[in-house]
């Protein structure tokens, strides 16, 4: 990417910027406070949670972990596994669908192409709010409600992912390369699979991760679709711990430990894969 500046060029001979650095660190502090809080709160026993100072360490970490793991026969880990299946499977399929559709939109001229593009773009703008309720009643009609499919299948279609894939193909899969493969006699599918797809991988990693985070963090869809607790992902499961309904108090210590464990995989994913994130895709600044 020619557009990106070499970092050090303008840094030389500049006064160090104390004010801006301080503002940024304040922002970082603001972002981290609740995370530090949950780290410390997870170590507190039920009694300590409401009686000891915030950010003080408690003595209940192991007990909370054991309680959470044995809660309702290990229900929490079932939820974690479900989250992994929904987010992993959904994001993988979503990426495949987006890649193929994005490639078609970017590298083919065909009648109806603009219409499809605009339709998908409109899809980005349809809020889940308008879809969730009818989706549920439709899923019920089809006998899909309260199944894994009812959460997994709607998660696969991601108009924004298609849009991103399309942008990425335009910028990084040259038309000439595709044309050359065709002239060599490769079939359309083969051209896509062996020529275009490998070149699309960096962009697709971003599409995958955006969708993974999106599904992992989704609450409304599983909340509406599922009634069987053993099919819940972590978000709805944690909510359930707080709202058991009549006659059952919330399980705060467990929910806090559960919240901590639920964000660990994503935080780890983000930290480790940070350099693979190509979020410049989103800002549309990839053309270069």
């Amino acid at each position: 990417m020619s557009a990106v500046r070499a970092a050090g060029v303008r840094r030389t001979a500049r006064p160090s910027r104390v004010g801006p650095t301080a503002v940024l660190l304040l922002g970082a502090l603001y972002a981290l406070v609740p995370i530090v809080w949950v780290l410390t709160a997870a170590t507190k026993s039920r009694g300590e949670l409401f009686s000891t100072a915030p950010f003080a360490l408690g003595t209940g970490f192991v007990q909370n972990l054991v309680d959470l793991s044995t809660y309702d026969g290990g229900q929490y880990w079932t939820w974690a596994l479900n989250s992994l299946v929904f987010a992993g499977g959904g994001a993988l399929l979503s990426t495949a669908v987006s890649a193929s559709a994005g490639y078609a939109l970017a590298r083919y001229q065909f009648r109806g192409r603009d219409a499809v593009f605009m339709l998908l773009l409109a899809g980005v703008m349809i809020p889940q709010i308008a879809l969730a309720v009818p989706q549920y009643f439709l899923a019920s009609e089809l006998g899909l409600a309260n199944t894994y499919w009812s959460v997994l299948l709607p998660s696969i279609i991601n108009p924004f992912g298609i849009y991103l894939a399309c942008i990425y193909v335009r910028s990084s899969v040259p038309e000439e390369t595709v044309e050359a493969a065709r002239i060599d006699g490769a079939s359309e599918l083969r051209t896509f699979r062996s020529v275009a797809l490998p070149m699309m991988v960096p962009g697709l990693v971003t599409v995958f991760m955006l969708q993974f985070v999106g599904i992992w963090n989704n609450f409304l869809l599983p909340f509406i679709m599922l009634s069987d607790e053993s099919k819940f992902p972590l978000t709805t499961g944690l909510y359930l711990m707080l709202n058991r309904g009549t006659g059952t108090p919330a399980l705060y210590s467990l929910a806090i430990m559960g919240a901590l464990l639920a964000i660990v995989p994503l935080v780890a994913l983000m930290l480790f894969l940070q350099r693979y994130w190509r979020l410049d895709l989103i800002s549309g600044s990839l053309k270069g």
Binding site: E141, L142, L144, A145, N146, E229
Partner: protein, 433 residues
């Protein structure tokens, strides 16, 4: 529905395309009960009762022909909605747990099956009052599971320490609330009814009928004189700061229960079991007593409790009733629900078995715990719920908190609740007197 057919084709096509290569996580939408009389029957049972699956295991081992599959369904509020949608779509379970106050709405939604023809099998095992809770119109629509007559649960240790007397009437309760503020300024005698299920339970012994049917139409009496009396009783206590206004089951409330700020809690008999997890430090410090009365009446209100209904989609209502009768009225079934689920059973036999049970941990010092609880259960006020209880509960819960914050009259809250319920009934096409 012709449209449904077309959706189905489209969706199946899409699903087939979209799921190529993924077979790891099969759904389980099949209802599995294709049984004719020959093969074993499998019944699906939605429940949120604790450890009910362990109790059902005992049944499954003894009844290879009628296997019951328990689906742990999310909390009471959300389950009803899911139930409605799935049963309307021709899916859904054979049996589902339903709170008593939700039953009428399930009946008018055409989800609950009329069990009148089977009712002889179990109706003799319950008191008349309990059976009235599952009777809607002319039909019997569920098998009662647990009941929750109200009791006065209080900190016996602190009552002794402060020299307080357990109130037997609400007038004494009000005086006691004032006395508490004098002897222990940071403590409160109790909380006020900011949820409708508590408030309704207070009005029931006075004979309040929030819903009643006059033949073809509904009569709504939420803002009747009985409710007004209860509202007028609590308003000054709240305004003078004599009762706590923390909503129960919030973390703040749990803290107050645990640290001795709250000295009592009027609650259904599930209270002692539930309180231990929010107030673990107070184990053994509590006791229960009969509820205060308004005018010396003996009846008490009900706060909670549930039943199990059979859905219209079930192909095997006979077997379902057989199972539910076992679960809720046999000694094996009720013993399981008591011991593994901590339930206060609705059936006479089940309640008799309670007397043999150890006393819950939080009231472990009280020898006559079961006696007090069972006495309350014997004389409960009759209740008729309507088809839109949720509307009343939501409206009351939101409006009473606003009224307390803004210091406006609770009587207006009653009026608002009444109006909301009537409007909703009319909107649904019911006639209202």
């Amino acid at each position: 529905m012709k449209n449904a057919q077309r959706f189905r084709v489209a969706a199946v096509a899409a699903a087939a395309v979209a799921t190529l290569g993924l077979s790891g996580c099969a759904g389980s939408s099949e209802s599995a009960d294709e049984g004719t009389s020959a093969g074993p029957v499998t019944l699906e049972y939605w429940s949120w009762a604790t450890n009910v699956d362990q109790v059902v295991e005992g049944w499954n081992q003894e009844h290879p022909d009628i296997q019951v599959k328990v689906v742990e369904a999310a909390g009471a509020d959300d389950m009803v909605a899911k139930l409605l949608a799935s049963v309307r779509a021709g899916e859904g379970p054979d049996m589902a747990q339903a709170e008593f106050q939700k039953l009428p709405s399930l009946v008018v939604s055409d989800v609950a099956l009329d069990l009148s023809t089977y009712a002889d099998q179990f109706s003799g095992e319950y008191s008349k009052g309990t059976m009235s809770l599952v009777t809607v119109g002319d039909g019997v629509f569920a098998v009662p599971q647990d009941v929750a007559p109200m009791v006065f649960m209080y900190r016996r240790d602190l009552f002794e320490q402060y020299g307080l007397q357990v109130p037997t009437t609400w007038d004494e309760y009000a005086a006691l609330a004032k006395q508490v503020k004098e002897v222990a300024p940071t403590a409160f005698l109790g909380g006020y009814p900011d949820d409708a299920s508590t408030f309704a339970a207070y009005t029931q012994p006075l004979g309040a009928t929030w819903w009643s049917t006059g033949g073809e139409s509904w009569n709504v009496g939420i803002d009747g004189p009985e409710s007004q009396r209860v509202a007028k009783f609590w308003q000054p206590l709240v305004e003078d700061g004599l009762v706590d206004t923390t909503h129960f089951f919030t973390p703040e409330w749990g803290t107050k229960m645990n640290d001795g700020t709250l000295l009592s809690w009027t609650v259904g008999t599930w209270g002692p079991g539930a309180a231990i997890s929010v107030a673990p430090d107070t184990a053994g410090a509590w006791a229960i007593a009969p509820m205060p009365s308004w005018d010396g009446e003996s009846q008490v209100g009900l706060m909670g409790g549930s039943s199990v209904m059979v859905t219209k989609n079930s192909d095997h209502p006979q077997e379902a009733v057989e199972f539910l009768t076992w679960l809720n009225t046999s000694s094996a079934g009720t013993a399981g629900m008591i011991e593994k689920g901590g339930l206060f059973p609705a059936s006479t036999l089940g309640q008799e078995a309670l007397a043999e049970q150890p006393v819950p941990e939080i009231v472990s010092g009280q020898d006559d715990f079961w006696e007090v609880a069972l006495t309350a259960a014997k004389d409960t006020a009759p209740v008729t719920w309507g088809p839109n209880v949720q509307v009343a509960f939501d409206t009351w819960g939101d409006a009473i908190k606003q009224a307390s914050a803004a210091r406006t009259s609770y009587l207006d809250v009653l009026t608002a609740t009444q109006d909301a319920v009537v409007a909703d009934l009319e909107k649904s096409g019911f006639s209202v007197d």
